[in-house]
């Protein structure tokens, strides 16, 4: 096991008040495994990603408790120098907006060189990296600036910078949301290719189920700061075991779903300052019973590694038709 997150809790400051936004996450990522973290706006998924290497600035929030074991050592207890040696080298990031993630006044070459371990004679290594991310066109063009590239090429460059140091874990947060559909496909294929070639472990954070279902081996779904379902992709896709997951899958538009109304989830996600007492999904749940509002459920076993935070799993599985996504 490469990364083991144990009961991670993170506070975030909104309107001058600290609220608990990540309320106890457990997640494991193995070598060469792609774990998808799905959740909608405000569920805390980006905070988890940033928190993994303590990237949350102190004035915005803090990690209140938990352990993040990377290769056996707890990241949260590392001294600043050891932490810096790990960030960008063993654990790298790729964010949503490639243009805002790059420094507009440095050339692409300069920025990739910055990410390299060995900074002398970088040219051949940079050429190698550019080739591996499909940017052969840029090899040799040392005066190329970020704004001269298209969105897709910028994201390829970002990925290039992220893998330059041959990291063990790559964290991507909505890396394709800002891109066109055709480019999106290419970037996803690139990520998979790199994963296989470099034995990369990947944490892929996104709100788009379709993408995550496509690329991940294991999936975890977040709602209101906690993981409400997780397990191997095939199990979740063929037999989702939480009302929220079912609602999300029912919301996916497609040709097959023609001209029918969606079985949409009503209402909206709760504010962290106003979480209901029992199950946090209770107000919007199709399958709710009174007992659900009493206590927040813990993760129950569905089968093997497939778990769900719902007390009605068995009833749901009996009621819902089997999915064939």
């Amino acid at each position: 096991m490469l990364l083991q997150i144990k009961n991670l809790k993170i506070n975030y400051k909104t309107d001058n008040r600290l609220t608990e936004v990540v309320r106890g996450i457990d997640l494991n990522i193995n070598k060469s495994e792609c774990v998808g973290l799905i959740g909608e706006s405000g569920c805390g998924k980006t905070t988890v990603g940033l928190g993994l290497t303590k990237l949350i600035p102190e004035r915005k929030g803090n990690i209140s408790s938990g352990e993040i074991l990377f290769e056996g050592k707890d990241i949260l207890r590392l001294n600043p120098e050891a932490l810096r040696n790990m960030r960008g080298k063993k654990i790298s990031y790729v964010f949503q907006e490639p243009f805002s993630s790059m420094n507009p006044v440095f050339t692409i070459y300069e920025q990739i060189r910055e990410a390299l371990e060995e900074k002398n004679n970088p040219d051949s290594r940079i050429a190698e990296i550019l080739k591996s991310v499909g940017l052969e066109k840029i090899i040799g063009k040392k005066n190329m600036y970020p704004h001269e590239l298209s969105g897709g090429m910028q994201q390829r460059a970002m990925i290039g910078m992220a893998i330059a140091s041959k990291p063990d874990l790559l964290i991507l947060d909505e890396p394709t949301t800002a891109l066109d559909v055709t480019v999106q496909r290419q970037i996803l294929d690139l990520i998979l290719e790199l994963k296989n070639k470099m034995n990369l472990a990947i944490l892929f954070i996104s709100h788009d189920l379709r993408i995550v279902f496509n690329i991940a081996d294991k999936i975890a779904i977040m709602y209101a700061g906690k993981i409400i379902e997780s397990g191997p992709k095939e199990k979740i896709v063929s037999g989702p075991a939480h009302p929220y997951t079912i609602g999300l899958i029912d919301s996916i538009p497609s040709l097959e779903h023609r001209k029918k109304l969606f079985n949409a989830i009503g209402g909206k996600a709760p504010l962290f300052s106003e979480l209901p007492r029992g199950c946090k999904f209770y107000p919007r749940c199709r399958f709710k019973i009174d007992r659900c509002a009493e206590k927040e459920p813990s993760l129950e076993n569905v089968s093997g590694e497939h778990v769900s935070r719902c007390i009605r799993i068995k009833d749901i599985i009996k009621m819902e038709p089997q999915w064939n996504y």
Binding site: S41, D180, V181, T182, R258, K259, A264
Partner: protein, 250 residues
């Protein structure tokens, strides 16, 4: 029955020196949902704005009820706007940040004087309820609403003049999937109930496939393929359409 006929529309932006819309022609029939697909930069948003004269076209015609909208006076166009409306993509940019929700709707009545002054408030509440909001939203500012709620306000604003035709310009692209489904449901129900005609612009083929009767595909300012939705998805003729379909995760 043909509601709108776009004929050889052209628009070039001098500063980009590119042909945003390059000789586009197509028809829209009453009661249908026509999908407009294409990637960013293909010109679909520009086309949407050209159709309602929100940007001036260089050349071409837009026929609505036997009149060429590009030839009528500004005053006549303003009256015609009652029948042709638009919903925008970005719920955060499509509302005046300083305007209360109730005023957003009432302003429409003020401009067109289609509702008498004492009825305006009740009509506004009625309209907000139609889109799934209610009286409690009257005095709120856009910053207090979620993306989905703001989009509902945008839909209410478009409905305030009882239009016949609405351009939906990527109305759900900025929303989370669960909210997207709610808004799509709302648009579908409204279309059925009021027999509206939509031009539905999107880059998301899943959304297009689940809603549209016919589809037109744009690439680099040109219309490259047209067809009935299922036909296009199952038997795309154009290379670009095939690429689009393959890339989408359907």
């Amino acid at each position: 029955m043909e509601l709108l006929k776009i004929d050889n529309l052209h628009k070039t932006f001098k500063k980009h020196n590119a042909r945003a819309v390059d000789g586009v022609s197509f028809s829209i029939f009453k009661g249908e949902i026509l999908g407009l697909v294409g990637e960013s930069g293909c010109g679909k948003s520009t086309l949407a704005k050209l159709m309602l004269r929100l940007i001036e076209s260089d050349k071409g015609s837009i026929f609505y009820k036997d009149r060429d909208l590009l030839m009528i006076s500004n005053n006549d166009m303003r009256k015609t706007r009652k029948d042709l409306q638009i919903i925008f993509q970005d719920p955060y940019a499509s509302l005046d940040p300083r305007m209360k929700i109730g005023m957003v709707i009432e302003e429409v009545y003020d401009i067109h004087e289609n509702v008498s002054e004492n009825n305006r408030k009740s009509k506004t509440i009625e309209l907000l309820e139609t889109v799934g909001l209610g009286e409690t939203y009257l005095n709120r500012l856009p910053s207090e609403l979620s993306g989905g709620e703001r989009q509902r306000v945008g839909i209410a604003r478009a409905l305030a003049t009882d239009p016949e035709f609405i351009i939906c310009d990527e109305p759900v692209s900025s929303l989370d999937i669960s909210v997207q489904a709610q808004i799509l449901n709302l648009l579908i129900e409204l279309q059925r109930r009021k027999n509206l005609t939509y031009l539905f612009v999107s880059h998301d083929l899943g959304v297009i496939g689940s809603l549209c009767d016919r589809v037109i595909v744009m690439q680099s300012g040109k219309l490259v393929e047209t067809g009935r939705c299922e036909e296009l998805f199952k038997n795309p003729k154009y290379e670009y359409t095939k690429t689009l379909l393959k890339s989408s995760l359907l």
